[in-house]
Symmetry: C2
Subunit: 178 residues, 2 copies
């Protein structure tokens, strides 16, 4: 078995472990155990921990975008409010929680200037703003500004959920819709 196929067998299990436990305190030995191998092998195939995490995040990001499009097939919404409701409903769904938790891990390190994660987080947000723009009504007068506005709202709501204040997120959604 060559190196590439070995990695691709490990990837789903590695990703599941990272999604459950985060990447901040991630250590090789339990991670390897979760994939049915040893830290020795992970280092051998990925080079070092940093590269392993980079590959892992790339894999998870791809997995996430697929899940998103499956859950919410592309196509414009009927209004800005409808678009916000759909996107917020998806991003705040409990099924998204592992991704959200990982997202805050990445964000915390990006905020401290950890360059690899800063690039990752910027790329993820850039992808999201484009995704929301593509879902706006086709006749929206300011798709760019509106997409930014909606993303900021959605991510703010996700933060409120994580902070244990979902009522604040609900109230914000109601204030925008009403």
């Amino acid at each position: 078995m060559d190196s590439a196929s070995q990695k691709s067998e490990w990837m789903p299990k590695l990703a599941a472990h990272a999604l459950e436990h985060g990447i901040t305190g991630l250590s090789l030995r339990p991670l390897a155990r979760a994939a049915g191998t040893s830290d020795r092998m992970l280092i051998y195939h990925f080079g070092n921990k940093e590269q392993l995490i980079a590959d892992l995040l790339a894999f998870i990001a791809a997995d996430l975008t697929q899940n998103l499009t499956t859950a919410l097939p592309p196509g414009p919404s009927t209004s800005r409010v409808a678009c916000l409701t759909e996107v917020a409903g998806l991003m705040r769904n409990p099924a998204m929680r592992p991704y959200t938790q990982l997202w805050f891990d990445i964000l915390a390190e990006a905020a401290r200037g950890q360059s690899a994660h800063a690039q990752t987080s910027a790329a993820i947000m850039a992808g999201f703003v484009g995704w929301i723009r593509s879902r706006l009504p086709a006749d929206d007068p300011d798709p760019e500004g509106c997409a930014a506005h909606l993303l900021v709202l959605v991510e703010g709501m996700v933060m409120m959920d994580a902070a244990g204040q979902p009522e604040v997120a609900d109230a914000a959604l109601a204030a925008y819709s009403g």
Copy 2:
């Protein structure tokens, strides 16, 4: 010198170190060095690391609220847009960056259900929403909903800054104001 005054001498230096390096990977020996003492003494006076961090966060929270009221003295804004502009300007200010970084540390652990930090984060957000409500124009028809809406917007913008996408935050602000 009794234990209380010993702690209060350490506190500013401990807080400065925590604000600079975060609390996620915080270890006692460098922290003690920053305060001019030893890990041995920190444990002796605080009991254990968990209690030390709890005390530290309480100290920093008090410090932050004082800084906020100094920077933006209380009193209602002239409009919702003015309120958002003022609050966002304050929270996105580079001077707030250490606090923001620490905030994302807390949030990441709260999102994973670490109960101490979950309570802390909920309390901080509850304080903020009340603070914003007190700054809204006195005749606002829906102070509660509007305060929630503005907090979600501001925190979303702070997140975009941390994620390396300040343009998205700016665009969202413009979209709300315009």
